[in-house]
């Protein structure tokens, strides 16, 4: 699915009836099957951008579109993953992953079939009947990832999906995400605060300015795929990471 933002602006209303410009104007096009990472200072509107693409937040002006059709409400072909795992504590791992199918009216046998097929890729096969309170942070995020993948979406919107995890777990799980993406070839828009992670995963790294977020750099990552963790020592990698960092904190400021 192709995703496009055209002159998108999102304002929020402040308590005193004023307007808080949160995002934009920003234009961006993400090609079908492309993996784009978004980085930018805290509060610059990254989550707002994801929510607008997800149909959860109306645009103040401009537009967002999926395959050139305006997005005004959540699409079933587009799945969002939020910063925390956001699991339902009263549901087991399989029932959490199966939630989207259940809401779509898929019967229980077919739901479980689909979920059990996913569990090995998520390294969760021994935890099918565990409750979220029994999982580690990394496992909980894998469940959340499973809940996104099970929808067989054509585009994934990931808002700092591994932000709460320790560096080692994050590295591991983000490479697993790449694996899943290689098989499914969905369009991915992922927000992260980790520049190295962005360069390692993405085809393009988009850098946003501080609030209201505008596009300040759009860096094509010409590292070959499949990506591996030892690429972070390459000259090209370091150059691209430096370029992205310079765009976030301009040297003259």
């Amino acid at each position: 699915m192709k995703l496009s933002l055209r002159e998108l602006v999102v304002d929020f209303r402040t308590p005193d009836q004023g307007r808080l410009p949160a995002l934009g104007p920003i234009s961006l096009e993400v090609l079908p099957g492309e993996f784009v990472c978004i980085v930018g200072p805290s509060g610059c509107g990254k989550s707002t951008l994801i929510r607008t693409l997800g149909g959860l937040q109306p645009a103040t002006s401009g537009s967002v579109a999926g395959d050139d059709l305006p997005i005004t409400r959540p699409l079933s072909t587009l799945a969002i993953m939020f910063q925390d795992a956001n699991l339902m504590p009263w549901r087991t791992v399989i029932d959490n992953i199966a939630l989207p199918l259940e809401l779509a009216g898929v019967d229980k046998a077919r739901r479980h079939e689909a979920v059990y097929e996913l569990l090995p890729q998520l390294h969760l096969q021994d935890f099918a009947l565990s409750y979220p309170a029994e999982l580690s942070g990394g496992m909980a995020q894998r469940v959340a990832l499973g809940r996104v993948i099970v929808q067989r979406p054509r585009a994934l919107l990931l808002d700092e999906p591994f932000g709460a995890l320790d560096a080692m777990t994050r590295e591991k799980i983000s490479l697993e995400l790449l694996d899943l993406w290689r098989k499914g070839r969905q369009t991915v828009v992922m927000v992260t605060h980790d520049i190295n992670e962005a360069v390692l995963l993405a085809d393009r790294v988009v850098v946003m300015s501080s609030r209201p977020g505008k596009l300040v750099a759009d860096i094509t990552i010409d590292l070959e795929r499949p990506r591996a963790i030892n690429m972070i020592y390459r000259e090209t990698f370091l150059r691209l990471a430096r370029e992205a960092r310079a765009a976030i904190d301009p040297p003259d400021s």
């Binding site: 959540p74 939020f82 009263w90 939630l99 309170a133």
Partner: protein
């Protein structure tokens, strides 16, 4: 439940004691009951008070047997139970639904708050006579008294519980295009259930109070009536039997809610190993 008690006593000496400390802990609530009974027996044996004021346990046991055999207790118990259950269902039904509506539409709370706060800060006993004037001295007035007393805690608990539903999970449900019914059934209901059940424990015991207060005021039948009529006849053992019956109702209701929690909130007992 008593995981703490599960820990092994490090001292091997304790193994020689036939009853372990863990068992002792489990039985400890019984001791307070036995101690109370002993104290009661002691007071009556010492004849500190005359028997018609503090009858001995045996006399109360005898009164219980009589009241059971004559059908007196069962008859009045049945009346109270019926009023209480109907009142509980009515009060809960209204409390839960208005509570849900208020939680979803904050403007409603703003509109209704003066009425609710005024109503809630008045002692319920004061309403009972008024409710008798309006609903007659039949069962209706007692059902309504019970419903009113049950209404507030269930209302407040529902508002708190539904407001506490995670906004992130609401976002998730929205992003999955959940219908309002699906959001209610799959998110709001299971999320609110722990708080609502905790409130139900309070409501259940209040329901007994509601029904009995109604019976005090109207007279006629029910355990509340039985207490007053026994007192008028200086039948203290029967008064005690009736009061203990009320205690038993409240305890059974409470235990029933605990049982519901055990069944419906099984996931809460599972924590990280």
């Amino acid at each position: 439940m008593a995981e703490v008690g599960e820990t092994k006593d490090p001292k091997p000496r304790s193994r020689t004691i036939p009853i372990s400390l863990v068992q002792l802990r489990r039985l400890s609530p019984l001791f307070s009951v036995i101690a109370l009974l002993l104290l009661w027996q002691l007071i009556t044996s010492a004849e500190i008070y005359p028997a018609f004021i503090v009858p001995p346990p045996a006399a109360v046991g005898e009164a219980f047997r009589e009241a059971l055999q004559s059908g007196l207790l069962v008859k009045h118990l049945g009346v109270t139970l019926e009023e209480m259950f109907l009142g509980l269902i009515l009060g809960l039904g209204i409390g839960l639904s208005i509570g849900y509506a208020i939680a979803k539409l904050p403007i409603l709370e703003y509109t209704l708050s003066p009425v609710i706060v005024a109503f809630q800060s008045t002692p319920i006993v004061a309403y009972a006579p008024l409710l008798v004037i309006w609903f007659g001295s039949g069962p209706t007035s007692k059902i309504v008294t019970t419903a009113v007393i049950v209404f507030f805690p269930s209302l407040v608990n529902t508002i708190v519980a539904v407001r506490a539903v995670s906004p992130n999970l609401r976002d998730l449900m929205n992003s999955l295009n959940a219908t309002p019914w699906q959001t209610f059934r799959q998110l709001e209901l299971p999320s609110a259930l722990p708080v609502v059940l905790a409130g139900l424990k309070t409501s259940a015991t209040l329901a007994v109070i509601g029904a009995v207060v109604g019976e005090f005021v109207t007279q006629g039948s029910g355990l509340g009536f039985l207490v007053t009529s026994a007192r008028n006849q200086y039948d203290t053992p029967l008064v005690i039997v009736t009061v203990l019956t009320m205690t038993a109702i409240a305890l059974s209701l409470y235990s029933f809610v605990v049982l519901l929690e055990w069944r419906w909130l099984a996931w809460r007992r599972r924590s990280k190993p």
